[in-house]
Symmetry: D2
Subunit: 257 residues, 4 copies
């Protein structure tokens, strides 16, 4: 049976990335509390294709994915990328995994525990033997507007917001740690279960701790700057303004090297 993909190509155009995207796959990821957590990822896998080959063999991407036995961690990501390079005879490979991740949080007064959904993304590459991975956490938080509080006789507009923290590490930082940093930089954390005594505490905490998105990203930048296990970060906070039908956002990127 003819192998069309392996035909020689004479157009002289190397391809930066060729692969598969939009594939949904059940995976297990590391969980600081319980060892492993089952989730469902959206996956993209690709390689660089030299100018001489007409195509790549798409089924091999799925075979490499299936060979992981569902476990996807920062520790085995380099192995997956190596296998992609080897199976596709490429000197550059990329892998992206994006998945919901649940962290159990205790309410501030009742201490009732509930799972809260975060979103995590690993964006990794192996380029001529050099491995790189960016870990990104999207965390739901609350912001309360300092201007609205200052100028109003009572009340202050507040809203759900999202902090996105992307980091390159030189030593393990748990996503649970990034989630805690997100909470510290917000007007108040967000929870899945709150009884009335908790709701009172969260409401008052937000009101006594007003933050613009500008404040939130600055606080995030200061915290990540001090953390020696992190070499590079990019943070953004997007606030779903309760008085508007649009969002406010701010972002900061910094490399320490």
């Amino acid at each position: 049976m003819k192998d069309v993909q392996s035909e020689q190509d004479t157009r002289n155009v190397p391809i930066d990335r060729v692969g598969i995207s939009g594939i949904s796959w059940p995976i297990q990821v590391l969980d600081r509390e319980s060892g492993f957590q089952d989730t469902v990822a959206e996956v993209s896998l690709s390689v660089a294709l030299p100018k001489d080959y007409r195509g790549t063999h798409m089924s091999r991407f799925i075979e490499v994915l299936a060979a992981q036995e569902r476990r996807v961690t920062l520790a085995n990501m380099e192995g997956l990328l190596s296998m992609l390079c080897e199976r596709q005879k490429a000197d550059e490979s990329h892998a992206e995994f994006e998945f919901p991740y649940f962290i159990t949080k205790a309410a501030p007064v009742s201490a009732l525990k509930g799972r809260l959904r975060y979103d995590v993304r690993f964006d990794s590459s192996l380029i001529r033997g050099k491995f790189d991975v960016v870990t990104e956490l999207t965390a739901p938080i609350q912001t309360l507007c300092p201007c609205s509080k200052e100028i109003s006789d009572f009340g202050a507009h507040n809203q759900r917001a999202h902090a996105v923290i992307a980091v390159r590490m030189n030593a393990m930082v748990w996503v649970e740690e990034l989630a805690e940093i997100a909470d510290m930089c917000a007007s108040a954390p967000i929870y899945s279960i709150l009884k009335r005594e908790d709701e009172k505490a969260v409401t008052e905490r937000a009101y006594t701790n007003p933050r613009f998105v500008e404040d939130c990203v600055r606080e995030l930048a200061l915290k990540l700057d001090k953390e020696d296990r992190i070499d590079w970060f990019r943070v953004s906070v997007t606030s779903h303004e309760s008085i508007h039908n649009h969002d406010a956002f701010a972002s900061v990127e910094r490399s320490k090297r």
Copy 2:
């Protein structure tokens, strides 16, 4: 050239709806202030197919759509549905149009004007000559939690919410009127431009006017109940809780006939 769709079908299964969906189309709709407004709709058109025919001619749906000269109003919807029945030799047709619609609102103190996006949907049918259309408005509003205000020493959590108002009319009701009803039933309206004096006014209005989603839908139901031009309504309010990563919602449906 053979007409496969017109072949006789012997499986004895009439089809409730067959047609096209997910088609994007530029349209003009009625605007209370300026006569007409240009927008882009997502459209679905379908007919009932009797058991004896194998298929329908999908290109005719687009031809009927193109024949509208872009103008889509409650007034010409019945004509479009008639043309669908005629072209497809069907005794039942359906048409759905969903599109962004902008209403210019003045800020409460500065009176600065800004466009605010709403979403409108027409869901219409012509069944053996009987015409029906539901007009649905999705309006962004603000809710402020009565419980949070009551139990907290200061502040109250509030958030962006969405009211969805679907109605069957016996006389023209403008979507601008439905938008005004949505604003009246919320803790506070939402605007695109607010200067500081406006932000103070909106913050204080929300704080003095706390509303659960339950309160909002009840107020909506009372207002729509009193409106003689409306024969049937279904309302819901979904509040993007600022202290949670999930939403609270409530809905009421009522027919007056």
Copy 3:
């Protein structure tokens, strides 16, 4: 601490549904092959609220959800709905769970196994003691156009499509069985891993088995009609036409009672 939700309401408007939506939650569902499968659901829970109460206690919905110990099956759905009625003092409750579900399929020639993502939805209610649940499977399939094949000298346009099969059962029907029915009614099934010999088989099967969306829903209707464990069904097929930027769809609903 005052209980605002429990205040008496004098507006005389009963609320059809009040609850939470858009909550993401890790669950375990039944898997025909391996007993249980871990996945992540989007959940909505609600109750009817009598006219006399101002509000419902939203945190109780999460408490009932958390009490399930993550296991969500057709068998324990009625218990969850009962618990909702009891905790919220309501005579009507609703629960919706929507989640990705993976079925391992063997390629038609190489027999290589790969996981394929489906989407499942349980839409259930308990109304004055009467339990009802609709199970809905969204299955990716392939359609190949009979008209295009007939009129063209060679080739035929084909595309990814989705079958949606919703059923009410009187005895257990596995979603794996519904997925098999979807495959039988398509031009060809869809797989995650296909080697070249498989790709040849799938391409030829689709070409020898051309189906309009109208054909697919009729075949689905005939198969479900014959299945005694199913009392009611609603099927639709939506084909992402490769020659257009819009979809073709057809739908049939039938109750056997």
Copy 4:
């Protein structure tokens, strides 16, 4: 009334971007055939914020947007960015507009005309006086698999795909021209209205013109490379494989300077 945003900030963290996102706004864009086209854009506007200021005034973004009188073109983008810098006292501003854009195409045989939806995005910045804009077109096309055609006795799998063409220009290139380039690089173009004679032509064209995503991006790269009005491009093609539930993609980026 106190101006909290203008307070001095001592945290010593400059912010890369601060602004608004997710705002929907009606605009008019240039149309090669008819002069102007009305559409609805999703807009993001932002500026760099020096370390000394606590916040930016979010309402000014909307005021600058409202001042454009709805007309958004490559020609007036620099003026908009200048006004943003001036109003926000910033030395760097960014503006993104993403909107549906309709091109009227004639079917290949019947010559019937129908509108086809494309998506366009302007991503622009003014950094210390230096203006830059990337124009990006997302075009629906059809791909037919060369491998499937070669190895199968009859037929070949084909599917809807999307080409994304992003360019930096030194002289005006119409998005209509980019759409024509996308069509030339595909197995076949896509249309909104096709009568049977057209469907035959499109089916046969795709079958005689099989293309991997790798082929498509190489053809795109060759065409854009030869075009002197284009200084830089990034192209990708994503094919919604009809035999899988995932996509295949390829991308190439190249600067000619």
